[in-house]
Subunit: 139 residues, 2 copies
DNA sequence: CAGCATCCTAAACGATACTG
DNA sequence: CAGTATCGTTTAGGATGCTG
């Protein structure tokens, strides 16, 4: 089923998963999902411009709910990609900014985003072609 | 639904933004999600090494179900990132391979994957620190 | 082998209400 | 402002059975 290194044991944790994202037990897969996830990628992208406060970030990442932003931020902070700077003032002020690692990840991500955005015309054409070919032709 | 082609009613400075994946109405967001999604990214990564048949791909992308692989493959094919080559033999043989655009996207993606993988040690440390700081301590 | 259709559960998500 | 807690909905995902 899920052998990934030649070890015969497939249902107990092994320490062979070290560097294989393709394995479901690779820890980097989790981080990768935080990074590439729907809100993770947009949040990193938004913070790449500079630090932002919670509600500013919420406005920047169009469509994200309070809950999801909070959740995303926690995951990214835990992974060491985002730094949370809270001032104990009243009203409270919390700034989020990328860590150096977060910057690098964001840049890599932005490269991908740019590539996809720049090629959307091709994608659209491909979609039309696909839909055309898969259209239910009857009668 | 409406579209954001004119961007006339935006209340934020848009000069700095040549593209806007941050808008929920941007069509590239959908493609981006196919690409970065849980199975999309792993599928593209797997196919980057060369073309694969359905079940080989299924074994390569550890943990993916038949259904999800099929679904992922359709989305990527529709977006013009994956090419499906079916031979009408018996038993049937279907090979999946990346299109040129798919190759470029996969390379960008692999860059991200490698970056994250190569820095997992830092991530782990950050996680420990985070968990430490957020642990419920009593006494 | 390479899939599609169906059912069902688990997880993600969004809206709302509430706290410091 | 900056969140947390809770709830109802929606979607993703897995298991199974069937087809060419």
């Amino acid at each position: 089923m899920d052998e990934n290194g030649g070890s015969g044991t497939d249902d107990r944790p092994s320490d062979e998963w070290l560097f294989d994202v393709f394995s479901r037990r690779c820890p980097s897969r989790g981080t990768l999902e935080h990074v590439t996830g729907r809100w993770g990628s947009l949040t990193l992208g938004a913070l790449h411009e500079g630090s932002l406060r919670f509600n500013a970030l919420r406005r920047r990442v169009d469509g994200v709910s309070e809950k999801m932003l909070s959740q995303t931020l926690h995951a990214l902070e835990r992974d060491g990609l985002v730094h949370r700077e809270a001032q104990p003032t009243n009203p409270p002020r919390v700034d989020y900014e990328l860590t150096p690692l977060g910057q690098q990840v964001a840049e890599q991500l932005l490269g991908l985003i740019h590539l996809v955005e720049g090629r959307m015309a091709e994608v659209m054409v491909a979609r039309d072609r696909y839909d055309e070919a898969h259209a239910v032709r009857e009668g």
